[in-house]
Each structure stands twice: as C-alpha cells, then as structure tokens.
C-alpha cells in the first residue's frame, strides 16, 4: 500500500489514454450488470423465499384444464397443507397492450398459499362479501392509478360471460403488498366462484393447482404421490416445484442464457484487448523508469506487483462505475417494464461479486505480460535503451 501514490501517479500519466480505457471498461461492465440482471429476471428470478410450493398442471400441456374434482383428492395426499386452484384469464385493461396476469382464486386459500402477500383484514372481509370483487397488487395499482372502490373492466381474450361479451367488470376491494423484495405484485385476483358461475364454459374445471407443503414434507415424494394418484386417468398430472416450473417455462424462450453469454464473451474479449494494449504501451514507455526503480533496489516482485496493481486499478475504476450505472439503469428500465419483469431488473449481490471477480481477473490478465516484462528487465539494457 505504501506504493499507492506511485501507482496512482502512473495510472494518470497519460490522462486521455487512461480515461478512454476506463470508459471502455465502464461500458463493458454496464452491459455485464444489465444483461445478467435481465437474464435473472427472465429466468424467474433468484431463489424462492418462504414456503416451498408445488404446481400441478395437466401432463399433456399447460393449456389443458384440470377437473375441479382433483382438488379434494390432492388435499388428502399426506404432506399437502393447502391446495387451491388458479386459471389463466388472459385479459387486458382498456388496451390489448395493458396485459398483466389475472387469476380467479379462492380468497382465503390463495392468501394462505402466498403468505408473502399481505392485505388489510377489512379489505379481505369486503372482498369475501362481494362476489364481483377483486383485489390488486400495489404495483398494478400504481401502474394504472387504481384505488379501492374503483370499478375496473377487464376484457378477456378467452372467457365469454354467460350474459354476453368478454368484458368483465370487477370492484376493487383491496390492494395487497408483498414482503418478498424480489417479488412483483402486478396482478389482479378475483373470485373463482363468480368466475365458475358466470363464464360460458361452465363450472368444474381449473387451469392448475398450487399447493403448499406441510412442515417437513418431502416435495419429491408429494409430487410423485400426486402424479401417481391421477396416472392412467383421463387427466394425468405433472407436478413440480414452483421454481422448477418457472425455470422450465423460462427455458421455452430458448437459449437466452447462451446468447447473453456469447455477447458478454465478445464484450470481454474486446475489453481485455483494449486494457492489455494500454498496459503494454504504458510499460513500454516507462522502461527506463522501471529500470531506475530496480537500480534503486526495488525487488522484482515489487515491480511486478506495482504494474499488476495499476492494471487492476484501471479495471476496478471502470468496472465499479459500470456496475453502479447498470444498477441505476436496471431500476429505470425495470420500473418502465414492470408488467414484463415483475421482480424488476435488479443487479443482485451475486452479480456484483461476480463482476468484482471479473475485474480482478481481467486486470491481472491484461497486466500480467507487461508486468512480467517489467520484472525481467535487465537494468543495463533498459537504461541503455532509454
């Protein structure tokens, strides 16, 4: 550390060159942070918090309905604490562009399944007393400026009302928040009993079941027991954890991860070249100076360390600024696209740590050859050349 002054002065020996290098490193790490955050958001977010939930869908395809009669049978399987149904309503608000999830649910059961969603007790009571009532998440309320007491028309692309038309009107009875910092709340929930009674397809079917495990129950065992229960029935099921379900759904978009990795590979390759070039130029110009240092008694290792530190320092300055900018940009983009990435685009701690590791790695890689060259300098030759 006592050489920090020396290193700092060397870094800024050529102000323009160093600034340009720092800026290109900044851009690379800005992309790194943003693309990784986006990749995480698309693949269903980070780790699950709270209770483990299982999702039961039709084995042939997610779009096929399951009979409501499955519900009691699932509830009786050991290890199942709460089970409830949901269906994809496929609606939009005012304009087809305003899409967000709407689910017909059973109020008490749904909130028991998702303890991270919290809503005032009196709003829950009001909802249970109003068949055409609905509750919405805070994110959705803020997005469209909705409040309790509003009447919201949702046009379904799938379900027609028995009374005619596909526009369903709901009274907003409550607004819920989430205690999960990674979870979004851009959704609308309405009552399954109203849905079942009012739609033209009739009663007795659901989109899928979600269930919460009892304390200590093994998710794999429960999932197998459920699928076995309905094996060879007309409606075979496929049960997986919520996380696995989200991951397999994300995989359907194709190898986004692969494409992101390819882009980042190209970015980092270029970055290394730029930084490596800067370092070797800088060492080449200073050969005489480094020889003087060695004449003064600086050890080979110290000279190596000084040059390497310089390289890592340049990377770290650009990299940290880039990650910080990426974090800000993620916040801005995430709130602009709240409907598509409910959890927001968050530059997580893992991404930051990975970025720091990359800064150090890239700094060492870019600096190692010039540094070795500096270390191996023969004083006489170097001074003669200088």
């Amino acid at each position: 550390m006592k050489y920090f002054g020396l290193i700092w002065r060397n870094v800024w020996r050529k102000k323009i060159r160093t600034s340009l290098t720092i800026l290109s490193v900044l851009v690379a790490f800005l992309l790194f942070a943003l693309l990784n955050a986006l990749g995480q958001a698309m693949s269903g977010g980070g780790a699950m918090t709270g209770a483990v939930r299982l999702v039961v869908i039709d084995k042939v395809s997610l779009i096929n309905f399951l009979p409501l009669s499955h519900k009691n049978k699932i509830a009786q399987i050991p290890g199942v604490a709460v089970v409830s149904q949901q269906s994809w309503f496929g609606g939009f608000y005012q304009d087809p562009k305003n899409q967000f999830p709407q689910f017909p649910v059973v109020p008490d059961e749904y909130f028991a399944l998702y303890p991270e969603f919290v809503m005032p007790e009196e709003q829950m009571e009001a909802w249970k007393n109003n068949r055409t009532g609905a509750v919405i998440g805070r994110d959705l309320a803020e997005l469209y400026g909705l409040k309790v007491g509003d009447r919201i028309p949702i046009q379904s692309t799938i379900f027609t009302r028995k009374e005619g038309g596909r526009t369903w009107e709901f009274d907003i009875e409550g607004i819920f928040d989430t205690t999960d910092p990674k979870g979004g709340t851009a959704l609308l929930l309405f009552r399954h009993d109203y849905f079942a009674e009012a739609n033209t397809f009739g009663d007795g079917f659901v989109g899928w079941y979600t269930l919460r495990l009892a304390e200590g129950a093994d998710p794999v065992e429960v999932a197998n027991a459920i699928d076995l229960q309905f094996a060879n029935s007309p409606n075979e099921t496929e049960t997986s954890t919520e996380a696995a379900f989200a991951a397999s759904f994300a995989k359907q978009f194709g190898n986004i991860a692969l494409i992101v990795t390819m882009i980042l590979g190209a970015v980092f390759f270029t970055l290394l070249l730029v930084a490596g070039n800067t370092m070797s130029q800088s060492v080449r110009e200073r050969i005489a100076e480094l020889a003087v240092l060695k004449t003064l008694g600086f050890k080979d290792g110290t000279v190596l360390g000084i040059v390497l530190t310089e390289s890592v320092l340049i990377m770290a300055m650009g990299g940290l600024l880039g990650v910080a900018l990426g974090w800000l940009a993620g916040l801005a983009i995430g709130s602009a696209m709240a409907m598509f990435v409910p959890g927001g685009i968050v530059v997580s701690t893992e991404i930051v740590l990975l970025a720091v590791a990359l800064m150090i790695g890239a700094g060492v890689l870019a600096g190692i050859f010039p540094a070795l060259k500096a270390m191996r300098l023969s004083i006489v030759d170097a001074l003669a050349r200088g």
Binding site: I16, L20, A28, L31, Q252, G254, I263, V274
Partner: protein
C-alpha cells in the same frame, strides 16, 4: 489538387508504417469487429423470426377467428359458425365445395433437443383441405395421415427441433400414442414448427366436441377480403374477426421481434460507444507514435489538412476492416443457425433460422464507419495542430 496529392502521400506513408503499430491498430479493428458481430447476431434473430412468421402468410388466404382473440389458441368457433363461413361470398369454390380448412389449435409438451426441456409445441387438427389453403406447403416425405387414425404429419422444422418426431416413430402425448407418418415443408414458414393430425381425431382426443378454433379460407380473389369481412361482420350469428393470413402472422410476429430489437439496439449502441473509446485510444497512440514523422512532414511543407484527413482515413479504414471482419464472422457463424422460442402472441414454439441479411450487414458496416470517423476525429485534430518546432526538438 495539391492538398489531394498531399493527402494521398501522407495516407500512403501511414499505410506503409502501419506494421509498426500492429498491436494498437488491431485493438481498434477487433473492437469494431466485436460491435458489428454482436449487432448482426442479435438482430439476425429478429430478422429470422420475422421472416419465418411472414413467409407463411398468404394474401390469398383469410383467417377467421373469434373476435377479440389475439391468438388461435384463445379462439373458439362452433360447427354452425364454420358452416356459415363456408357459404360466405369471396370464398374460393372447387366444384360445389368451398376451399376452407376449419382447424383446432392446441399445445402439446415435447422435449426440445437443444436443452432437453419440455416446450409448448403447436398441435393442429386440420381438414383435408389444409394444404390447399396454404401457399407452397406440402408433404415431402412419407404420406398424409389417414382420417380417423392417430397419425401425425410433422413440420420439417419441428422434426429437427423436437425429440421423437422421426418418420415411423410412435410418440405418446398423455395416454394416447401417435405415429409419425409424414413430413411437410412450408418454405421455411411458421407452419413447419407445427405437428398436424386429423381434426376429428384431435377433437376427440382433447374432448373438444365438434368445436373449432379458426377457419382458413382461400379467397377467390385477393380483393375479396373486404367483402368477406363485411359479410361475416354483419352476420348476427357470428362474432368474428377476419384477417388476411399475412396480416395475422405479421401482427403475431410483432411482440417477439420488438423484444429482440429493444434488446439489440441498446446493446449495440453501448458496445459502439465502447469501441469508439478503443478506436480513440489506438488513434491517439498512432498519432503520438508518428509525432516526429508528422512534424517532419509539416516542416517539409505538408499542410495541416492533409495530416488531419489522412489520420481520419486511417481510422476509418481500420474500422472498415473491423466491420467487414465482424460481419463475415456473423454471417459464417450465425446465418441459418436454427433456434426456437416461445412466441408471446401464440404461446407456442416457433422454430426459425438466424437471418444475417444484406441490409443488416450494411447497417453494421455503416456503424463501423461512424465509429471510425468519430474515433479518428479528435486524434486527427491533435495531429494537425501538433506544434512543429516542439515535436522536432524531441527528436
């Protein structure tokens, strides 16, 4: 004229001693190449996706879908409604039969070969006229399914992308086993991502009674679409939207291709900024390496303009080389590369090829040239303003 000669002479000199500056010059070249590569690769996905979606769309075929449905999946039509459509004006007739295909569109989970994960593959029940209502679509291997049997014909792209769809194999969806008896092609269009069977069999297997989701009708004339739409919209027994197949598919393509573009352009822009810094860096070092040379030239009477322009020519040429290199790599590595993704609009897999098209390459090269010009300007200005006496004294 003199200035032009000077520019030429200085540029030629720069070119001759480029070999002394290989390291920093190649950094600029590689930087620009990476930008063009990423640009062409990402946007070729959007191009390929659009191409697949629009290729299939015919102007001579209309799709009739329940009104308000944004996808075939969400639509629903009864048998009576289909019969009404068949007798509507503007529908092409073959003898006394209307050239129409009432279809059922469902999804089935099949594993993707590329990531061994289950995907929503479109499973379509079609009538005997399915090939007649589509452009350049036909069987290329095997035979058509026999009505009433659990037999499949599969799209060429679906066959290569998903597991278990080889000719002659049997595949189970749930409890029902199906045999692949034929392969069809659709000129690279979206239908090739699908698996087809007899509509009656699919209605039974999916317990859909006698219902359908969409009707495709061949128009007796391209201009009959408006007439058909008016007739169907005015029929109180119907509640449908009418599109030409091309309109329908291009609106379906929008979501996904906009998503790729929204991702691709900012990434390219950011990377281009990074590359400008790289180019600036190597041009500054080029100028400082040639400091003595530039001063000598100026002392000999070469004007500042010739020094400025020649430096910009150098950086632009380096960027051009980088652009060509990046474009060539993108073309060789990605053009025709097959992938599949979940289309937002149809909620089902669409198999498509990356398309590194000429206009993408041209855009990439233009980007490269802009990077070269910007990256060269400031260093060139410095070169032109170099104080001659001082630079010579440093000799």
């Amino acid at each position: 004229m003199r200035t032009l000669q000077q520019i030429f002479a200085v540029t030629w000199l720069n070119f001759l001693n480029l070999s002394h500056r290989v390291a920093s010059s190649s950094v600029a070249v590689v930087g620009v190449a990476a930008v063009v590569l990423v640009f062409a690769a990402v946007l070729s996905m959007a191009k390929g996706f659009e191409r697949t979606m629009t290729l299939a769309g015919s102007e001579d075929t209309a799709i009739i879908i329940r009104s308000g449905s944004t996808s075939e999946l969400a639509s629903g039509l009864s048998n009576e409604q289909v019969l009404i459509v068949e007798t509507a004006p503007g529908v092409l007739r073959d003898g006394d039969q209307a050239v129409v295909s009432a279809e059922l569109y469902v999804l089935v989970d099949i594993r993707k070969k590329s990531n061994d994960s289950e995907a929503n593959v479109p499973f379509r029940g079609v009538g005997p006229r399915a090939f007649d209502v589509r452009d350049s679509t036909g069987l290329t291997e095997g035979r058509m399914f026999e009505p009433g049997k659990n037999e499949l014909v599969v799209g060429r792209a679906a066959q290569s992308e998903f597991e278990g769809l080889d000719l002659g194999t049997s595949i189970k969806f749930g409890r029902t086993a199906w045999t692949v008896v034929g392969v069809f092609e659709a000129d690279g269009g979206v239908a090739e991502s699908e698996v087809w069977t007899d509509i009656r069999v699919l209605q039974g297997a999916y317990r859909r009674g006698n219902s359908f989701q969409t009707v495709r009708v061949r128009l007796d004339d391209r201009d009959s679409l408006a007439g058909l739409e008016e007739a169907l919209k005015n029929d109180p027994r119907l509640d449908v939207d009418v599109y030409s197949e091309r309109q329908f598919y291009s609106s379906q393509a929008q979501g996904t291709s906009t998503f790729i573009r929204v991702l691709g352009y900012p990434i390219t822009f950011l990377m281009a900024i990074g590359a400008v810094f790289g180019a600036l860096n190597s041009m500054y070092s080029s100028v400082s390496a040639r400091g003595k040379e530039i001063a000598t030239l100026r002392a000999l009477g070469f004007g500042p303009i010739s020094v400025l322009v020649s430096t910009m020519i150098e950086s632009t040429l380096l960027a051009l080389i980088g652009g060509l290199l990046g474009g060539a790599i993108a073309f060789l590595a990605f053009n025709g590369f097959q992938v599949s993704t979940l289309s937002n609009a149809s909620f089902s897999q669409v198999v498509f090829d990356f398309a590194v098209t000429a206009d993408l390459l041209a855009q990439g090269i233009v980007t490269a040239l802009i990077i070269g010009l910007i990256g060269g300007f400031l260093p060139a200005l410095r070169a032109a303003r170099l104080p001659v006496a001082q630079a010579l004294r440093e000799l």
